[in-house]
Assembly symmetry: C2
Homo-oligomer: 502 residues x 2
């Protein structure tokens, strides 16, 4: 008796495992409950399948020994091991979590959108869009402004011509440029503020164009000045080494332009339309226009503009309107709720805008003009500090600031800290300029928003690293924008609509 | 004239880059706009800082050559390159996106929760919880049931004793066990259905306990049967090899139990309380009880139970109540909206439940009983097929099904396909049993839900792989549960509450 008791009960884990190894080939499935490597049961079905077939072949042989082993295997089905989530088990594979996040996001947003449809029905209305551009169908102030802008371009070119000929003194040229540039900023602002038929959207577009023009002409003036400066620095030796260009830069088939030779209408307008703010005498050019690339970008532009308009009408505006009352009552919890509610669609729209403008539109223009340098943004989505974000999400402006504002300041011996703040100040000014003037109200929200980036950058930079920094940057993007937007929209509604309703 | 023109305008990219390399040490900052490696501008501030200091030291020397190089560097600031998002640029680093997902999830859910607080105020009410367990403070049917359960345990033990002594024939023992086991399932069901003071929650707990008991006693009966079978298979040679246990399995200090010796009350109750459903004569034991581990698990249990109750009262119940009307009206779009709205909190609660039960509680019990095998779940969160999920999220049950249901079927020569379906059928039966009986209504939603896993598994397995499969599994978890819940809750409300309101 004691004999077979021993037999049954002393099946030790070690032996079990050994036997298992020897029998694995024939009896895959009966290992499953005991052999508990987390990968094992993934292949259970397949192996089970074989097992059954094999066993049905083997049964006739009815080997006593195998049967006994099989039973004693059945008897022990536990072994000492930790749970995967215990830190002591070295398990670290959580790749499923990313998919979980995506699924949760898709579900909750589709829910939000469905709720919105149920609540408001379909609000998308293409006709209404036109009214954003036109108050009075017989006056097109924005369009006129765009046409007039050519004057300033030509003035800039003319001045440079005179300077190159020496018929203007450097001082005179500098003054003319200053006047020209300041008028570029003031004239459209004045028009937008004074012409009643100007709509906010139209005004914003006009001012945007003029701001870009300002930056471009400023760069144009600087570069030509540098050319003259360089020409004054005499040094045959290096100039010779410089005067032999390496072919791989210009694809060889191109004619290189030299300083006064670049002062032509054609060159000027190429720069005006090129997707960059920094002037250069010889832009790198792409060898040819890729038709399919061009069409894809064009399609993307068209598509995203539709979606942007649609989502704004369907999703943003209802939230904004519904958040007016809480804002007036200064009901804090409701304000927060509305803010967070606005954050999601606003952020999605911003992402779409980013892609359609910085990728599709700029690449489209560049392809059309065979403009070689397509770096319009860098990997800001990985940015672990606020500074990195601002340095990488809008490369044309960042390049301009570095080349024509930040580094000149440094060369004048201004400290890095102050120069950086100055850059933020400049960008804050332009943000305010582009928002306040078209809305015809000066609230300094955009300005404050930009300037707030400095302390924010300091905070994030000094306290958060790696993924936490990255999360903080995302947070500031997702929360910051709708906050500023709500501020403006609220003031705008209070100014214009509430008066009517009262 | 032509000479210095050449000088200025033939600064080629290649040369620029070479000069840059040589000057990098002294003029880090002025490289930034041209040297556009996405990592470069991250370190701009630091390097800029040095640069300024260095330059201010070097300026006095006023080296013409450096000045000229500097100017010609300034002049060229573009080079041919693709945008990062163009497929032609081999850029693939999107690690920021995971953080983005997390931030978006946190924000949108905090928004939802805030909205809920504004809408309903605070609904958490600990007293109300008690009413879930007690209708009539003078009758504790669920508690009584738990006490009575000991009878069945002892019957099981007694039967095995008789069988081991041979005073019961195998057939008689089998019959007694069958009766005992079937009574274990029917008696509590009858009590729950007939005793009016039994609450759904109390009933569910009682039935759950009895179901676990059923599975445990079934395993107990099987294992002891196997022991007797093994003892009949005579083979001195192997039995000797088996009778010398290797020390590393039982930590040496333990007394190994042999077959009839395991039929003691102590051994029986250890198995009844042990966190497993599969009986084994000698469970692997952990060397000692780790106090800190025990306390951490206990704290987790307490904490999560609080959160679960709180969230259910605050978040789930309002949604469920608000979704009654759409369900009655069969308003499809609203039903979908409510379903998706319920999905998020329900899923979060399920995740918490999973952790608090399968990790905290079971590990707590195991630690207390020095039970060695802590594998209560595997990495189901990475599961790329429905089968893998069901095989890995609940290991105790999965183990039991394999050991006492699936493999016995295979041994009887039943095909793998049928056996697998049978397992799902069994689990579907128990799901229905645990839901319908306490709610006192038979709607077969749970049953259908479980059986629906078979076609779902087939669909996912045959059409989706990798992350898509994983996402599909998540989707089915997140959507499937609230769907079944809504069905039951709706019917329950219609049965009990609407009658009152009418």
């Amino acid at each position: 008796m004691g004999d077979w008791n021993a037999t049954t009960t002393t099946t030790t884990g070690a032996q079990t495992r050994r036997r298992r190894a020897t029998l694995a080939a024939t009896r895959g499935v009966s290992l499953q409950p005991v052999n508990c490597a987390s990968s094992a049961s993934a292949e259970l079905p397949a192996r089970g399948g074989e097992t059954v077939r094999e066993r049905s072949l083997e049964r006739p042989r009815g080997d006593k020994k195998r049967r006994r082993n099989e039973i004693s295997d059945r008897l022990s089905c536990h072994r000492t091991q930790e749970s995967l989530l215990s830190s002591s088990s070295g398990f670290r594979n959580y790749r499923g979590i990313l998919n979980w996040c995506v699924v949760m996001l898709v579900l909750s947003n589709s829910r939000l959108f469905l709720e919105n449809l149920i609540k408001y029905g379909i609000l998308v209305d293409p006709i209404q869009v036109i009214s954003l551009f036109l108050n009075d169908p017989y006056s097109w102030p924005a369009a006129c402004l765009l046409i007039v802008s050519n004057v300033f371009i030509l003035v800039g070119l003319y001045t440079e011509r005179q300077l190159s000929k020496g018929s203007f003194s450097e001082l005179a040229g500098f003054l003319v440029h200053c006047i020209n540039l300041s008028v570029i900023l003031m004239f459209p602002a004045a028009v937008v503020l004074l012409v009643p038929s100007m709509t906010p959207v139209g005004g914003a577009i006009a001012l945007g164009t003029y701001t870009i023009l300002f930056l471009k002409l400023y760069s144009y003036k600087d570069v030509n000045l540098w050319c003259r400066e360089l020409s004054l620095v005499k040094a045959k030796k290096l100039s010779r080494s410089l005067s032999c260009p390496s072919p791989q830069h210009f694809k060889g088939d191109e004619q290189k332009v030299c300083y006064p030779g670049n002062l032509t209408i054609r060159d000027m307008y190429y720069f005006v339309f090129a997707p960059t703010l920094c002037y250069e005498l010889n832009f790198p050019r792409s060898p040819k226009v890729r038709k399919r690339f061009l069409l894809r970008r064009l399609f993307e532009m068209m598509f995203f503009i539709q979606v942007l308009v649609g989502l704004t009408q369907q999703w943003m505006i209802p939230i904004i309107q519904s958040s007016m009352k809480p804002l007036e009552d200064m009901d804090l919890s409701r304000m927060t709720e509305r803010l967070l509610r606005l954050a999601v669609p606003n952020h999605l729209l911003w992402l779409m805008f980013f892609y359609s403008f910085f990728h599709s539109s700029l690449n489209f223009t560049a392809e059309l003009l065979r403009f070689g340098d397509r770096q319009f943004y860098k990997d800001w989505w990985n940015s672990e500090s606020v500074t990195y974000f601002w340095q990488n999400w809008n490369i044309p402006v960042h390049k301009w600031c570095l080349r024509h504002f930040y580094k000149p300041l440094l060369r004048r011996g201004v400290s890095k800290m102050i120069s950086q703040s100055a850059v933020f100040f400049l960008s804050a000014f332009f943000h305010e300029y582009l928002v306040s003037v078209p809305l015809r109200m000066f609230r300094l929200w955009a300005f404050t928003g930009m300037m707030a980036q400095l302390p924010l950058a300091w905070l994030v930079g000094s306290f958060l690293r790696g993924n936490y920094g990255n999360a903080a940057v995302w947070m500031s993007i997702i929360i910051g924008q709708p906050f500023a937007i709500l501020m403006y929209v609220h003031d705008y509604y209070v100014m214009n609509y509430r008066l009517e309703t009262d």
